[in-house]
Subunit: 268 residues, 2 copies
Amino acid sequence: MASSTQSSPLAGPTDAPPDAPLGMAEAAPAFSPLYQQIKTLLLQSLQAGEWKPGDTIPSELELAARYRVSQGTVRKAIDELAADNLLVRRQGKGTFVATHAEQHIQYRFLRLQPDAGDRDTEGPAERRILECRRVRAPADVARPLGLRTGEPVLLVRRVLSFRGVPTILEDVWLPGTPFKGLTLEALAEDKGPMYALFEAQFGVRMVRAEEKLRAVAADEEAAGWLQTAAGTPLLSVERLAYTYKDTPMELRRGLYRTDRHHYRNELN
Amino acid sequence: MASSTQSSPLAGPTDAPPDAPLGMAEAAPAFSPLYQQIKTLLLQSLQAGEWKPGDTIPSELELAARYRVSQGTVRKAIDELAADNLLVRRQGKGTFVATHAEQHIQYRFLRLQPDAGDRDTEGPAERRILECRRVRAPADVARPLGLRTGEPVLLVRRVLSFRGVPTILEDVWLPGTPFKGLTLEALAEDKGPMYALFEAQFGVRMVRAEEKLRAVAADEEAAGWLQTAAGTPLLSVERLAYTYKDTPMELRRGLYRTDRHHYRNELN
DNA sequence: CAGTGGTCTAGACCACACT
DNA sequence: GTGTGGTCTAGACCACTGC
């Protein structure tokens, strides 16, 4: 099996045309290893919802049989998906679709931490939804989300508090179509991460995100919500979150108080 | 070879004692796979300077022969080290020790980016060393570096400018012993990343780092160096950088202007 | 061409979880 | 015990680099 260069047991679309011109019209023939093709197929199954967050996917041997490759090959594909946090392996139990719910430690994307000392006594954040409105997307929201200016979007504004201290004020912008039906009530009643609700209610799983940080001065409104003085330095965090296939699905603009907390980052 | 549970072809220190009590005194027997042991050995060779940054390490087959394991096993060990950015694989050429010099895109740890638009015209940073002094470590510097208060450390203060605009003011604290002989002149003459100089001159390779970010107001001194007004919100970035074996080797406290730049982060 | 890393296989066995 | 992921091997062949 491993020999015939690009026989591809699955007639995948990644194959080069069987009679590509020898002159090579443009790009390289784009050799793609078998395990990459498997990875793509698994990704498609995930995206299509064949297996939902929290589900266990078929065993390595099953998948190997389905795709007509060796166990080692599907293993390598799964390894990469697990490295990207799309799948979670659990020895003896199986391989699971990653989820923002019950993800042993919640708030996977929230990098704000209490300063030393308060580590243990912190407890979970108290959430307060200020509003949830359907609006037309301003240009600076539409562009990053890949929408056109004026298309309908949802705007959720909320405040997170720790130990009673309002610490985060954020606006969450969501494209209107995939999140049709999201209400303030649903958000207010929900416990657990917002991204878990997105999975359960709308089948949208956030996979990765990019953040841009700045230091800004609190304006009157922000100062009010965060119970601090206007002009106080705040950490501005703009997050663009993506689903499968690198599709942007959420724009979040937050202001963080950093007098008792800090934003923690690891560099490798 | 793969069978005898823990025969360990290399008599590594990770082996469980051959006659551990069946009652299991305390922790688990700590089963450690072969490839992990190989990884540890490679790490030791790196740390000992057997192969220096930029060097090519022995081929997979050579290492497999040396350690008496299969190629696949050393491959997995190297894979993990490459994932941690300690090694770099180059097909057809070999496996190399990662380096901060010539690392195709420099400043691996600097996350500050020009805002959209200025991307191309930015060019390299202009550096100005303000001072380089030998001092006694204050408590808040000694602790994170794993030193005792009052031990000798080096303090380097510098300003980085982009397109003529002073943007970063930072204090770099280094333990005195490993960096004995570092002078302002050496720093001033050097081009290229500071971490490349550390590798070349002192054999210290920075492997990973942790950063804590905050928004703060510029005091008079910072405002002066950064040519801005006192009270301007600045991004405070405290970085602890580690060498091999998770040894902290540098503490850096920086203030970033974020009016034309932002701190970019990827969440996975 | 030889040498390096990269892919793929087939099969054996180990560690872990559930029943 | 059965089934799952995890480790290890041995060998074949492919892709890339440089002599």
